[in-house]
Symmetry: C2
Subunit: 193 residues, 2 copies
Amino acid sequence: MPRGRLTAADVVRAGAELADEVGYQDLAMGALAQRLGVRTPSLYKHVGGLDDLRRRVAVLAVTELGEAVRAAIQGRAGSDALAAFARAFAAYVTAHPGRYAATIGAEVTGPGDELYDASARVLESMAAILRGYGVGDDEMVHAQRTLRCLFHGLAALQAANGFRWTGDTDESFDWMIGFVDRGLRGEKTAVSG
Amino acid sequence: MPRGRLTAADVVRAGAELADEVGYQDLAMGALAQRLGVRTPSLYKHVGGLDDLRRRVAVLAVTELGEAVRAAIQGRAGSDALAAFARAFAAYVTAHPGRYAATIGAEVTGPGDELYDASARVLESMAAILRGYGVGDDEMVHAQRTLRCLFHGLAALQAANGFRWTGDTDESFDWMIGFVDRGLRGEKTAVSG
DNA sequence: GCCATAAAGCTAATCTAATTAGCCGAGCGC
DNA sequence: GCGCTCGGCTAATTAGATTAGCTTTATGGC
């Protein structure tokens, strides 16, 4: 909670915190203004409106997520890197469900778009892992898309339900990592023409 | 568009169509009433409100999806069944992005809940495929969760972006199916203690 | 040191959408 | 034929986002 005057970054950060606390659905201009000790219309001096706020929260989330996974895979390779990536990803989403939810519906246009560029950084970490598995350039995009679906699904279910899976969530998580590892290992010998 | 008086089912069906056409975000009571040739408050005689409508659309979607995938895997097994399941799933989401989007955030409580029961039917189809791969009861729940994440992620990205992946989407899809097949095949020999 | 200015806040007003209250007419069981 | 219930309607309320236009405050030029 900044003491002096607000900046756009302050507003976005507070919005992200609010979304994490009350859920993305309840991220509202009024509640955010209250949290910042300011009247609702004042926020419009910093962000374009609710839609703009949501998008900026999404950008923040993907950027932070990219930093988290990059740090996690530093110095690791193979299934080690894969497991570290997966754990960092899941940990981020668990810690910041509201932020992640903001990214789910966000429109991504193309290069130059902040969200696109931030996503590209996450995909680059993924590509580094895949290269370690011997995935070639020709298959890279398919493998990336597959893993993206898997992790996005994991995150979406986690963000939506708070992951109310009964029993051994950790065990399921380990199983999933093993599954991906097998799928990627098998790939090297099972390339089809 | 029913000529006579409306039923709850009419309203939900029209809501689902509207969501598919204009996007889940723009599913609104006013627009739905207009589509049905009725004033907005009249809808409240059939559904509890917007939240109730959304939930009913989600139930419809998961029910239809369950029927689609069950029909698709009929008489197939192994990677055949897997591919059929995946194609039916993706086809449903492509044809009904708004409906599927309704399911993403929906609250699922437990047995007896319509949405829970409908989801259970989808998971049962998944389990049938996994049994064909030799996945045992002890691992079934983990495998189900993994595939659920993968397909949900696929669907969520599809529903959100309209799947604006460049290039060979079909090829990526085939790669994904191959990946899952490898991950499940490897499983039989790679069971860890 | 003093004013012009722009940024950042505020109040009041507007708009849109959901929802609620309460009235009205048609079909149907008695 | 009478009255009840259902499904529709209009009017009013509420909540929230957004806009308009005023006020204050920090700051740079003189």
